[in-house]
Symmetry: C2
Subunit: 299 residues, 2 copies
């Protein structure tokens, strides 16, 4: 078990470095009069993060023999969407966070207006990447990627979850509401990350569904682990404030289930996620390791 988690860390670090290079190559260079925008986009997207979503894209694409250069562009696009959501979430009017990944958040390092625009530009850039012929020669694949990404990221996905999180009365939340919130807020983009490999590989529906089901369970396991880290983790390890859910009176899996049941639930979900991967045999081992990693991680 320990060995496996070390392996997955190595594999994820390698993919992370590759995605970092891809983003560095793809993101606009800070030249010209808009330099500040491009600088801040790079600040937001480069140099940090587990790159978990890109790893899911790369691993699921590999199942279908997709060219790595294609998958890497989609991985970069999803990471841009993820990073934009962090930049906007950190804004004073939202979660009001000063640090992220151990460094000042974008509105602290630059200013609020720049942070708003950086988020807008990163989101838009993701769609530019996904629709670019360099991402896949088949326009049907590109168009399907864009549509699936837009659905996962929009009002019926990530942004909808964020809205729920910001405004709902957390005191009245039961486990069903928290599950729904997290399925939208983080689950939708996880599901798209796995599905992207199937879209790129023009996989049949049953395989695409298997990956969605995996992502769904794994995403919830990830979120429960996140809630546990917020209670038990150390800020130095995580690179952001801890204990903030409780301070903000937010309902989480941990506040509703308690630490022990939450941890048990996370492990059950990880097992369940892995069970969906049977059809891919051992080729899906990296995805299996991810499911174990997300519940065992300490940051």
């Amino acid at each position: 078990m320990r060995g496996e988690v070390t392996d997955i860390r190595t594999a994820m670090a390698a993919t992370g470095a590759e995605v970092e290079r891809a983003l560095d190559r793809l993101l606009p260079k800070p030249v010209d009069t808009e330099a500040r925008l491009f600088e801040a986009m790079r600040y937001a997207a480069l140099g940090g993060g587990k790159r978990l979503r890109p790893f899911l894209v790369m691993s699921s694409a590999k199942l279908f023999g997709v060219a790595e250069t294609c998958a890497l562009r989609v991985a970069a696009a999803i990471e841009c969407v993820h990073c934009y959501s962090l930049v906007h979430d950190d804004l004073p009017a939202m979660d009001d966070d000063d640090t992220r990944r151990g460094k000042p958040t974008v509105h602290k390092a630059f200013d609020e207006a720049t942070a708003i625009l950086v988020g807008d530009a990163l989101l838009t850039f993701a769609f530019e990447l996904a629709s670019d012929p360099a991402t896949h020669a088949d326009p049907m694949v590109r168009s399907t990627l864009v549509q699936a990404l837009a659905r996962a990221a929009g009002g019926h996905g990530m942004v909808g979850g964020q809205m729920l999180d910001m405004l709902a009365d957390h005191e009245t939340f039961d486990i069903g509401t928290v599950t729904r919130l997290q399925r939208l807020k983080t689950g939708a983009l996880f599901a798209f990350s796995c599905e992207a490999g199937a879209i790129l590989g023009r996989a049949d529906d049953s395989r695409r569904q298997a990956l969605r089901a995996y992502a769904h369970d794994m995403g919830l396991a990830f979120q429960i682990a996140d809630d546990l880290l917020d209670v038990e983790g150390r800020a130095e390890d995580i690179g952001k404030r801890v204990g903030k859910d409780q301070a903000q009176g937010k309902a989480t899996f941990v506040s509703i289930l308690g630490v022990d049941r939450a941890r048990e639930q996370a492990r059950l979900l990880a097992d369940q996620a892995i069970a969906h991967l049977a059809v891919f045999e051992q080729r899906a081992d990296p995805l299996r390791s991810v499911a174990r990693f997300v519940v065992d991680r300490r940051s």
Copy 2:
């Protein structure tokens, strides 16, 4: 001349009503727990505006015999992008505006967090609309639409222009800088609106370029007229604050050229825009009228 402007107002009002109905049909209904987000999206996108960009899409699509139902979806998508940009521009950290189109801005009617998320969701929804098979049966057309829209709206287009506007030192601006700023901030989306018709109609390159050139000149004429209205217009007609450029010390075509030369320049640009349309003969009359309308309008 007066008669022509009345006609174009009638034509634009008819298209505006059609786009309003399309948006009402297409935008998510405010049900479920995320209702507040969808309500605020509808508040931001429905019930107002000249719908100038949609009119450009519909008029340019008509040149190539594009089905109206297809063009209307793209028109709705562009209007979502335009409305998202207004919602974010109005935020306290940006232009800090309390009214827009004669009613409270989104962050005033709802709150700042909702306004940030509404902008994010409208932008994302635009890409969902453009990539949907209902927009065009040919995936190459959809994929090209998405890519062109992303370029027009992103860091090298609208958002880049917004960044320049927010942060550049306006005192040092010359006419070249103001032109560049406006070409990015408003010109890029105008150009895409006209180009969209050509993409939907799979027009040849020369016709697509003619429409881009038209949009470029017309867009600058539009902006100069906007600057003139900020100096000379009445808040009741325009539905937003006037005199704010000057109050904020912003460089505009009017502050650099003076009122008379600016008005002359707007008319020259409108004539120049019209000259690009020769290839389309009288079928482009609505676009010619738009070019005259934008410099003659009083709101």
